[in-house]
Amino acid sequence: MTDMDTQIPQTDAVPAAPSRLQRAWDSDFLYAFRRSPVAMVAMLTVTLMVLAALLSPLIAPHNPFDPATLNLMNGFTPPMTENQFTGQSFFLGTDDQGRDVFSTILYGLRISLFVGFAAVLLAMVLGVTLGLLAGYLGGWTETVIMRAADVQLTFPAILVAMLIFGIAKGITPPEYRNEVAIWVLILAIGLSDWVQFARVVRGATLVEKNREYVQAAKLIGRRPGAIMLRHILPNVLNPVLVIATISLALAIIAEATLSFLGVGAPPTQPSLGTLIRIGQGFLFSGEWWILLFPALTLLTLALSVNLLGDWLRDALNPRLK
């Protein structure tokens, strides 16, 4: 566990000492990273995908959702071949409406990653807050929060997400459903996934709150909110980071699954899951590329994030050092 040095501003480095960058580079954490080719490849893959998603309007050959740039004659062009009518050729082929598959994947990746990150952020904020409160305050606060966690844990997260999606859809007036679908999806996945964070943070908080630095902070009269946020939180962040990474992989898969089932991202804002749903329809007629490339993208993304999470768990576990 790191101690209180997170509190001290680190601008007072002596010029002769190694720079902060150098110190970070030599840290145990990055040393372990440099020694693990799997982690480096996974990190590189995830970084490239995030960049591709962020820059998709610049990278994509055209905007697949701007009807003006589409030509129906281009429909069903196989990858890397010239279309027989227009003579155009597409890196990963086109779908039934003549949309470039490579472009739809870039835009789909953008939605998948956005939903994934946002859902994990929601789950993390909610779970960490509730976990801190439960661990620090104890009493009935703890009972209520942890019982709720137990109840939710009885059900698979994906089922909880489906239900939340269904309920939220029912509350929204039909004409707005497509517009808010992405946000509903984030809400559904985020709310289905807070339990892990809450449990781990509560456990760590129970340990930390009896340490001397917390006692000291209490003695000098810091308020409970400040103690939780400024003193305990920085010391329980390691496991939170691990869970967040693993949750990201789960959230991306959950999003893809929901969208594939038709209870997620709408066709107007397709995610990777929606693209796979669309592509499945063309499997029998032999247009395999409409399905294969989005599926491979999803697999690569989920596998990379998973591997990164596994590595992170080992690297941050003091018992394995």
């Binding site: 109840v151 059900f155 994906i158 089922l159 489906m162 239900l163 859809k169 029912g170 209870v263 596998l303």
Partner: protein, 331 residues
Amino acid sequence: MLNGGHRMLAYIIRRVLQSVLVLLIVGLVAFSMFSFIGDPIDNMLGQERTQADVERLRERLGLNQPFPVQYLKFLGEALQGNFGMSYRQGRPVSEILIERAPATLELAFMSGLMALAGGIGLGVFTAIRRNGVSANIIMSASLIGVSLPTFLIGILLIYLFAVELKWLPSFGRGEVVAIGGWTTGFLTESGRKALILPSITLGLYQMTLIMRLVRTEMLEVLRQDYIRFARARGLREKSVNFRHALKNTMVPVITVTGLQLGSIIAFAIITETVFQWPGVGLLFINAVQFVDIPVMAAYLMLISVMFVGINLIVDLLYFAIDPRLRLDQKG
């Protein structure tokens, strides 16, 4: 030991009360869905209605009564298996559920069986041949298998066995035979063929889970003294591995399998959608798509009863099997 008996009774009572509380909360969620999402009056009366019609129906449905009274009535109806009418199909939800249940149960049964048999077999194999090439390949494959989303496994299987090889059907249950109220696909060839791909899709994840568990437990057990003594006594390898070692890994395997039963039913939603399998899961996902509240609520309550029931049974079994829990139990 009298004390221990008291404690056990207290534990059981507390655990049962907890389960009932969870079910009441789930019932409240289901009831709130009914009351707050969409107006049931709108759903039942057409466009040409008068205010008097609305009032009369409100009176007849008991919608003018206080919330707790409505909730209790709702619970009473649900206990008798009355979940109202499906908005989409216009038939009683219970009737649709009964019609759809055999498909899901047969699928869950087959995939559970496959997961158990395959998982134990592969688990024992990878534990005995710990350093063998094939065991390592199986372990790596299982890692990829866990990262694969269920629906992609289904699509992959459809592509291989239905589209390319044309051996197996890609959707539906095939021909079914009705025995009383139960429709079964086990008795026809097309029915059995149709079961294969969905069962593999649904059972694969549980199989890898059981395999990894059996492997870990086996490796643990194989290091113990009594195994070494069994070998020293000159017992054959097969007898040591199966009669002595495997037997002692079975308690955790059975509990995990029990807990996974619920997940199999839940994940059947995904498999049933991929294969257009006419079960309860497909019914639920269609209900979510079309906001068919009575079906969603009924499914939620049914599946909660199942989950909570399984959890309760597993917990009580643990308590009965493991004497340490009885002593350590704190008030």
